[in-house]
């Protein structure tokens, strides 16, 4: 079975598809619930404003489908935020795979008034604890572009820091994995994470 990349008009799906192909996969881009449910793994890419993206998922009738998935699922960037319980962006109730986690704006969390937002560029990962980071070392740099973030919780499996604010760079609970950074744009480190996710899907 192949890996399904969810196509819901709100993500940079091209980069994710390219990254999977570079890793030897033949992913399918789809919004079909039956294709998604039967895939060996599922990726929810995403870009955009939380309430709009959440609405796109509802419009495509995909929320239930995603919540019921039992195979490995990877949310990227806004994907991580939508797996949380709530996002301050657009006052959005999210899907809640990571219960109790509330996504907030950097300016609401940082004491630095001049902090540049979005947090854009390469930053380092710490406290790695997930099969997603198999073979990777502390301090590895990955690529971020985001203005909102999830404070660290028990589901956090990698942390990062920006403007004095520690936040969840990656989260995992059961079969739901998520990265705030873009593995598909994170060079060699990102390729390793993609390969690790693929291994999880084909286990």
């Amino acid at each position: 079975m192949s890996i399904a990349v969810i196509n819901y008009n709100a993500g940079n799906t091209r980069s994710v598809l390219n990254a999977l192909k570079r890793a030897g996969e033949q992913p399918v881009l789809t919004a079909d619930p039956s294709v998604i449910s039967s895939a060996s793994g599922v990726i929810l890419p995403g870009q955009g404003e939380a309430s709009n993206v959440m609405q796109s998922l509802r419009d495509c009738k995909l929320v239930e489908t995603i919540l019921n998935l039992r195979q490995p699922v990877l949310g990227i960037c806004i994907g991580l935020q939508l797996f949380c319980e709530y996002s301050e962006e657009g006052d959005t109730i999210c899907m809640g795979m990571f219960p109790g986690t509330r996504v907030r704006h950097f300016h609401a969390l940082s004491t630095l008034p001049s902090l540049k937002v979005p947090h854009m560029g390469w930053n380092s990962l710490h406290g790695l604890r997930s099969p997603l980071f198999q073979g990777m070392s502390e301090g590895t740099y990955v690529y971020f572009v985001h203005s909102f973030c999830a404070p660290p919780t028990q589901d956090t499996c990698a942390t990062c820091e920006y403007g004095g604010v520690p936040f969840a760079a990656a989260m995992q609970r059961g079969n739901f994995y998520a990265t705030q950074f873009h593995p598909e744009k994170s060079g060699c480190a990102g390729e390793q994470i993609i390969r690790n996710f693929i291994s999880l899907c084909h286990d």
């Binding site: 940079n12 091209r14 980069s15 390219n18 990254a19 192909k21 570079r22 870009q47 955009g48 001049s114 902090l115 540049k116 937002v117 979005p118 947090h119 854009m120 560029g121 390469w122 930053n123 380092s124 740099y141 690529y143 572009v145 820091e161 920006y162 873009h182 598909e184 744009k185 994170s186 060079g187 060699c188 990102g190 390729e191």
Partner: protein, 252 residues
């Protein structure tokens, strides 16, 4: 810690890179994809591909190149040159670009920045500014690749671009570009004080210390160069180690 970014800029004409290159082992030195991959392997943090073709035909070739670059590269890249409206941006993003830079078209039609930011998000919109210093602290913005002076002043224009929704400012000092005497650090520091979005320094890189100065004195978030990388005067791995020794956060 958020690292300072090193960006290499490639000029592309009819789908081929035009400046010389030091990468003798390349099968195809003029191929933007091969060159981009080589830079990526050497640890460059980001790439910029500038379309310097004017023709409609050339634009199609450039879009095809963007698709091939996106298939091959696993680091972010920006494309620019000849972007007139949101439809051009859509075409380039669809091809796989991460960001699009606009320059002259934004000077003539500033609301283009709002349009891009609203439709695609600020993170996509890089506003490039070419400016020339006319008196101490006074910089005039130029359009059409530095050929046409405008009435816009650097600091007010950069601020306006930010307020309209630019995600980054790429400032090229025309006085420093090609001089290899260092970046315009005083102007960069003034820009940084006025901006809440990332600032990319461009123009003037000659040696490794110039990059350290752009970060320490100019307070830039990223530094861009072309010639010194293409001709092999500065190798990316050495540059990164040099910066790290000076306690500048870089991705190694």
């Amino acid at each position: 810690m958020l690292s300072k970014r090193i960006i290499s800029c490639l000029d592309v004409k009819d789908g081929r890179t035009v400046k010389g290159t030091c990468f003798v082992n390349l099968r195809e030195a003029g191929d933007p994809v091969e060159l981009g991959k080589t830079y990526s392997e050497q640890g460059v943090d980001e790439l910029v591909f500038l379309d310097i073709t004017a023709s409609h035909e050339g634009r199609k070739t450039f879009t095809d190149m963007v698709s091939r670059v996106a298939e091959a590269l696993s680091i972010p890249f920006t494309v620019g040159g000849g972007v007139q409206g949101p439809d051009d941006v859509a075409r380039l993003l669809d091809a796989g670009a991460d960001k699009v830079s606009i320059n002259s078209s934004a000077l003539w039609k500033p609301e283009l920045i709002d349009a891009i930011a609203t439709r695609f998000g600020s993170q996509v919109c890089v506003v490039a500014i070419d400016a020339h210093q006319v008196s101490p602290g006074q910089w005039v913005c130029y359009a059409n690749g530095g050929r046409v002076p405008t009435e816009r002043e650097l600091f007010t224009w950069a601020y306006e671009a930010q307020e309209r929704g630019a995600g980054e400012i790429l400032f090229t000092s025309m006085d420093h570009d090609g001089s290899r005497s260092g970046f315009a650090n005083a102007a960069l520091a003034s820009l940084n004080e006025r901006l809440r979005i990332p600032l990319i320094a461009s123009g003037g890189a000659g040696c490794m210390q110039d990059f350290a100065d752009a970060f320490n004195l100019g307070k830039a978030d990223a530094a861009l160069a072309a010639g010194v990388f293409h001709f092999g005067d500065i190798a990316i791995p050495q540059l990164k180690s040099f910066l790290k020794q000076q306690n500048i956060p870089v991705r190694l």
